[in-house]
Amino acid sequence: MNRSRFPLIALLFGFAFLYVPIASVIVYSFNASPLVTVWAGFSTRWYGELFANRQMLEAAWLSVRIAAAVATVAALLGTLAAVALARFRFRGRALFGSLVYAPMVMPEVVIGLALLLLFAATRDAVGWPETRGFATILLAHTTFAMAFVTVVVRARLAQVDRTLEDAAMDLGATPAKAFLQVTLPLIAPAVGAGWLLAFTLSLDDLVISSFVAGPGSSTLPMVVYSAVRLGLNPQINALATLIVAVVALAIGIAGWLVARRAGATSIS
């Protein structure tokens, strides 16, 4: 109905704003010259250097492993929290709601500091953790990633027809079976999206990791940050391009899968 040009222009400007930096990074990853200001011809030397950079590769591997573990635990806990908030009344529900969502908006320096202090205190009290590393980063990332999973799953739960669970119970399923056999399959896409979201957040996190990591457990963002503080680094451009490529590919595959199953899980 409203055919004005304005929304289209706004969209184009917005997308330009979002993608120009990404485009510039991709372009300069193939720049033979390490300087951003000068284009010295097409080259893939930075990719070669990147793959020879052991520190970077080890950090990447660590980050991916942590992210996968974080995503799985956060998806589980976040889904349980979403179900609890969406379906149940219980004592302490208000506090629970605040605890679930606060990590999402709390500044990361605060969360990182708090968790480091916790680990220092537990080390004092029970001797664990002796050194911070995989486990502490995992616990820290899960705590704040959980909130995002809860948001995504809860939104989907709100769309699921409540009477479906009633119908299942009427037909003889206990509440737990009704949830597992009826509701869970219907929110599965949201849980999957939550898993991916938690994975990304963990993989990308710098501040919290810096607080709770220990010697010998540098994550990829930590290594990138050290490199960047020293100045512009073309290997970073190569790394960024690879990340964009992987993400775009993953989204492409996911989108194709969703399109194939379109309509199969629509909510009545």
């Binding site: 120009v20 990404i22 349980l80 969502y101 500044p107 605060v110 220092a120 705590t143 710098l206 990138v224």
Partner: protein
């Protein structure tokens, strides 16, 4: 009608986790904010100490808070952070709302794809994207080179290492957090409302301001809070894109902790930061509940 006992199977794991790894840490932060820095491991004085004679002494100090309130530096850092966060929120709204509107008004089949395009940068490395802006904003970076080559200016413009760059960086990083809730609010609106307005004589401009905008206010509020609250304590953007004198509370906290090894001071700053953000956080929680239409 829910089974009373079994529901705790679902509630307990996340609840206990959060109490242990979120609630408890904050209590510890609060406790340490009342300590003093010490040359020990951990580097602060304990609240309760067992003396040689077996008795327990309690030593709390409000030095940290006295310093925070007394030294104008911290007050300036808080205010500056709030100012920058507010500017960034406004800019995010001015850029993000039209984008959300554009997507909501686009053809139905395009909308998921467009939203995906908005989210895609978010899924790539945040750190690297901020870093990318350095190459664009610096004196001999992309923008300045283009402006000089086109003859618009002789001298490179100071686009980096100042408040402008920080605001830009924050807007860039948090834009999806603005676009998503606003889009959700707009997409939910019935197009027939606008048809009714037009039928009653409203031009598209008037219809927007009188019908669409007020109804999208809940989404706008959520988006603004989702940008403002974390932006206040943002660290990476001011550190990479801000000037050396960029006074933001996130940087101050980091510096107190890592550079000065003053854990109590950092803790006190964290406590005050959280206290300042409690009201916006509760507003966000309430908006979220209303949005879902669930039992509060």
């Amino acid at each position: 009608m829910r089974v009373p006992a079994a529901k705790w199977l679902a509630i307990a794991p996340p609840y206990l986790w959060l109490l242990l790894f979120f609630g408890l840490p904050f209590l510890i932060v609060l406790k340490i904010s009342f300590a003093e820095p010490a040359m020990s491991v951990p580097p602060y004085t304990p609240l309760f100490a067992r003396q040689p004679d077996g008795s327990l002494t309690f030593a709390a100090s409000a030095n940290t808070y006295a310093t925070l309130f007394g030294d104008g530096l911290y007050a300036r850092a808080f205010l500056n952070s709030a100012r920058i966060a507010a500017l960034a929120t406004l800019a995010a709204l001015l850029i993000g709302y039209p984008m959300a509107y554009g997507i909501a008004r686009a053809r139905e089949s395009w909308r998921p794809g467009l939203m995906l395009l908005v989210m895609l940068p978010f899924w790539t490395s945040f750190l690297i994207r901020v870093y990318a802006w350095i190459g664009i904003l610096k004196p001999n970076g992309l923008i300045n080179n283009a402006l000089i080559a086109l003859g618009y200016t002789g001298e490179p413009l100071p686009l980096l290492h100042n408040d402008f760059a920080v605001v830009l960086g924050i807007v860039y990083s948090y834009l999806p957090f603005m676009v998503l809730p606003v889009y959700a609010a707009l997409a939910r609106q019935d197009i027939r409302l606008l048809e009714a307005a037009a039928d009653l004589g409203a031009t598209p401009w008037v219809a927007f301001w009188r019908v669409t905008a007020p109804l999208s206010l809940a989404g706008v509020a959520a988006g603004c809070l989702l940008v403002f609250i974390p932006a206040v304590g943002e660290f990476v953007v001011p550190d990479l894109l801000g000037g050396a004198d960029a006074l933001m509370i996130g940087k101050v906290l980091w510096a107190e902790f890592f550079a000065n090894r003053d854990w109590p001071m950092a803790s006190a700053a964290a406590v005050l930061l959280v206290a300042a953000l409690v009201a916006p956080m509760m507003a966000l929680q309430r908006a979220e509940r209303e949005d879902l239409g669930e039992a509060p």
